[in-house]
């Protein structure tokens, strides 16, 4: 029987679809009986969905700085 700490260690592999059929069955059996681990896996999935947006959006000054450099580079290319 899988321990909670082992399930947590392997949950990344579960969510990445990297576990064998046998390992997935062992996971499912554990999750069926353990509400703490069910909560952990559900919340880990939420966390992973949140990570791509964790740095937030750039402000107008940052966007303008990037665009200014692109314009300068364009002008430089045209000169040559």
């Amino acid at each position: 029987m899988l321990k909670c700490s082992e399930l947590v260690e392997r949950s990344d592999a579960l969510l990445a679809g990297e576990l064998s059929w046998r390992q997935r069955m062992s996971f499912r059996m554990h999750l069926f009986m353990c509400r703490h681990c069910r909560r952990y896996v559900k919340q880990l999935e939420r966390l992973l969905r949140a990570i791509p947006g964790m740095h937030g959006k750039a402000n107008e000054a940052e966007v303008e700085q990037v665009m200014r450099r692109i314009r300068e580079d364009d002008q430089e290319q045209h000169r040559h």
Binding site: C4, S5, V8, I51, V66, M67
Partner: protein
């Protein structure tokens, strides 16, 4: 995965992708707005904070020049992340800066103190109450703690988190880039995620970080 990294165009509608490839200025500004900070975080984890801004500026110029070559096989975020990694590596070569990433395979698993010696939860996760998953880490009260946590994270852990979970890069490609074995990479990524999990869990339980 959020819309940013999950669909084939990186959360950008087909019409917007067409606008981007037609050279539409407003569409490119939107792209910069959505991805600039995440890309700066990737560069930061490779070249360090003082050079990250400049490397990302150069990467944006390259992305702008090559927008027409984006084929939609990866998400836009992943495509941009690859450009940033290439530019970061060129930057390190150009300025002959040796930057050895800290290897931290021996540090304890961040969630280890949440289990009893028998491997059962001694302090189970709190129930998280945010309704919208994409906002989970965007709570203003968490901003400083998140910055500190990422700033203190060993380089390889942070690179893995930024490239894999924020950038959507394939795992094998990251192991190549970081010259790290897949088994070590999995351990380090798990530690990075566990630290974030702990941060959010503590905030959700106490309202503080």
């Amino acid at each position: 995965m959020s819309a940013i990294a999950s669909n084939s165009t990186g959360g950008v509608a087909v019409a917007q992708l067409q606008a981007l490839q037609a050279g539409d200025d407003a569409a490119f500004r939107e792209l910069v707005r959505d991805h600039h900070r995440a890309l700066t975080a990737v560069a930061n984890s490779i070249v360090g904070q003082s050079d990250a801004e400049e490397v990302v500026q150069i990467a944006w110029i390259k992305a702008h020049q090559n927008m027409g070559r984006f084929e939609g096989r990866a998400s836009l975020r992943t495509w941009l992340t690859r450009i940033v990694i290439n530019e970061s590596k060129m930057w390190l070569r150009k300025y002959k800066r040796e930057r050895s990433l800290q290897v931290d395979i021996d540090s304890p698993q961040p969630l280890a103190d949440r289990f009893s010696s028998g491997g059962h939860w001694s302090k189970p996760p709190a129930a998280w109450h945010n309704d919208t998953p994409d906002d989970l880490l965007m709570v203003s009260e968490l901003a400083d703690c998140l910055d500190h946590l990422l700033g203190d994270m060993p380089d390889q852990q942070r690179s893995l988190l930024e490239m894999r979970d924020a950038g959507g890069m394939p795992f094998d490609e990251i192991c190549n880039e970081l010259t790290i074995s897949a088994s070590n990479a999995r351990v380090l990524l798990h530690r990075a995620r566990s630290q974030l999990f702990k941060l959010v869990d503590h905030y959700q339980e106490t309202g503080e970080c």
